[in-house]
Symmetry: C2
Subunit: 402 residues, 2 copies
């Protein structure tokens, strides 16, 4: 066997890649697991979006390779979407790069900017892909702590206390996953200024801004942002197109061109009918987002009920498609993924419900669980019933409801 590269040391298969296989096996063994794990929208896109895909794919000349920079129609739609919802001006010809999902953008950015031995600041808790992408590029992740007491925003004093030698990149993400924290523009302006001063690229991952949030926010709307900010965005969550793989980078022309040097050697443009359908999706008006959020708000009420049942505490003002909740009992402090890990295991094996342990987002998440809103109210209700019926240890069940 040929040895794999050093960059893969300690990089496992992505957590959910493994976990979904385990759930698949449990299902094959007759369990009917309800998954409240992944943030994968279960609802379809708007019918007009699907119609564009269907109609465009019937045309004879849409099947060939597409430009590495994406269709001008999609870039224009993205530019107009940013103007309308975020009040940010982007030149569609030079400041937008469509992606095959924003996840790949995280790797493109790391590969474009990070050398072996460089460092990148990543949030704890945070999306695990920041960590793995930084390491796969040969660089080292340098964790910064987020705390509930500081609204899950980075603390500049703490950042300044770190050894910042070799730090070239910093990842942030608001509305924040997994905590559901909304962006606080004042704090983020200070961070933008700090990154400008320290010459650190600030990569903002922004896929959740329309979900359970009245005020979509782009980091590019802040003062002096374009010189230091690269923003990732996605149609996955807010337009129910997760499986379609459509995302984008919004940034200054220089950053776009540098990332394109990497990306154009790695893949090719997206399927044109998908790009045109995505352009259609971006024109949807506020009724679309309102309708979507009505459903998520209903589900969230049910999830609060489930969390009460589990004696967890949570903020009711979270944005995004999850509820982040603190485990209050003391069981499982010795579990690899903490109390949240213990609770997740118990619920999976005793009640056939999968809930993500907060510890997979970093050790700051060990006391937490994260419940997805991407399941019907019926499924969430059924999860509550299963938990009530299950042989869950009494310590996991709140006194009030047991």
């Amino acid at each position: 066997m040929i040895q794999t590269a050093k960059r893969l040391e300690g990089i496992g298969e992505y957590y959910f890649s493994q976990k979904l296989r385990e759930i698949d096996q449990l299902n094959k063994a007759g369990k009917q697991i309800i998954s409240l794990g992944i943030g994968s929208p279960d609802l379809p896109p708007h019918p007009d979006v699907i119609k564009v895909l269907q109609e465009e794919s019937a045309h004879p000349h849409v099947h060939s390779y597409q430009s590495y920079k994406g269709s001008p129609i999609l870039r224009k739609a993205i530019s107009e979407w940013y103007q309308k919802w975020y009040e940010v001006n982007l030149n569609p010809d030079s400041e937008i790069l469509p992606l095959i999902g924003s996840k790949e953008g995280i790797m493109h950015i790391c590969m474009t900017y990070l050398n072996e031995g460089d460092k990148a600041l990543i949030p704890n808790p945070g999306y695990p892909t920041y960590n793995s992408a930084v390491r796969l590029s040969g660089a080292m992740p340098l964790t910064y702590q987020l705390r509930a007491a500081q609204d899950w925003h980075p603390d500049l004093n703490e950042l300044n206390a770190l050894d910042l030698t070799g730090v070239k990149l910093m990842f942030i993400n608001y509305p924040h996953m997994p905590t559901g924290q909304l962006p606080i523009p004042g704090k983020l302006q200070q961070l933008v200024d700090w990154c400008n001063e320290k010459k650190i690229l600030l990569v903002h991952d922004n896929p959740y801004s329309f979900i359970l949030n009245e005020h979509p926010f782009s980091l590019l709307s802040l003062k002096n942002a374009k010189s230091t900010v690269i923003e990732l965005n996605s149609l996955s969550k807010s337009l129910n197109m997760a499986g379609w793989r459509v995302g984008l980078i919004a940034a200054d022309e220089n950053h776009i061109n540098q990332i394109l040097r990497f990306k154009s050697n790695m893949d090719s443009g997206m399927f044109l009918p998908v790009q045109l359908a995505a352009a259609k999706a971006l024109t949807l008006d506020k009724d679309w987002y309102a309708g979507l959020n009505e459903i998520y708000a209903q589900r969230r009420m049910k999830v609060f009920e489930l969390l009460d049942q589990l004696n967890c505490s949570y903020s009711t003002g979270q944005a995004g498609m999850f509820v982040w909740a603190k485990v209050n009992d003391e069981k499982g402090t010795d579990h690899q993924l903490g109390k949240g890990g213990a609770m997740s295991d118990t619920i999976l094996y005793e009640a056939n419900v999968f809930i993500t342990p907060g510890g997979i987002f970093g050790n700051a998440g060990k006391d937490y669980i994260r419940v997805s809103l991407c399941a019907t109210e019926e499924k969430i209700s059924e999860s509550i019933s299963r938990i009530k019926r299950s042989a869950l240890p009494a310590t996991h069940i709140s006194v009030a409801s047991s």
Copy 2:
């Protein structure tokens, strides 16, 4: 500005990414360039393939994230396709990894196996992406020469004469692009044996096997291949789905799992309706391929006529969607891309026809041009007329036809 990573030094934007922009600008300036450059099929997929996409995309539950390993339906179709056409057995559960186009697979493989300082053997002439992917992974490309006199196959004596220290990978590609050389199984068996002995992973890029070729060949059909061969394949060329982005890796289970460790941290599964349409495409029978090849054979006759006009020589037995041809006049030996580069420039600027200079595939291609078959007979005829009408220097025009 934040400096880009060292790995990007000397890596330009992909040649065609730049060239297509130049052609776009020429077109905007009123030229109507005929492109005989890229191998991007201009014909649509089979109507049944499009129908599957249209029907499947109407279902409500096909829009969410897909498994990193691809749909079991697609993997089964790939397995059956390999059995039917290549007589190779692949376990659909463990020996197949669907890709968002085979181009990304080249990078995935390099990132999975190559460390900074490692080496990978790449063909000269050959597909430029092997070179850039190796370098982007931090490793060094080590070029091996292909020569017409040796049927454009690697010479084992020459390989043995190289310093092979640190060589972990070797790229090959038959039918070969850009020369159109068909695979010679006897020679390739020797190469497989050599790679097994030297513990070098042999990556075979196999997108052209159905085009103008009666005998599709997989390197995995050779003895002891699975221990050392990773094969890339694609639906782009043979099923007219270049823009759809569907490719695959076929390999031993261990190799698949290692590559998945990288890939699952970088992107996500493909859009399910695209996967199901691809599965449909793989079931097409020999009438599909025969119909396609009839069209390409007609076009090839026209391209031969064009090449005669340019006083180029070529083998008539080439496979794949290009004709590789040697420039016989002596003009342009001082051009950066050789005589082929000079001829390509002249034809572009004087006759508004774009033909790829062979030099972009390595210096062994400097005396050559490569003409794509992905244009209608009408367009090829029009190209011939334009060349005849143009102010092309007499040295570029054959005596017989001018």
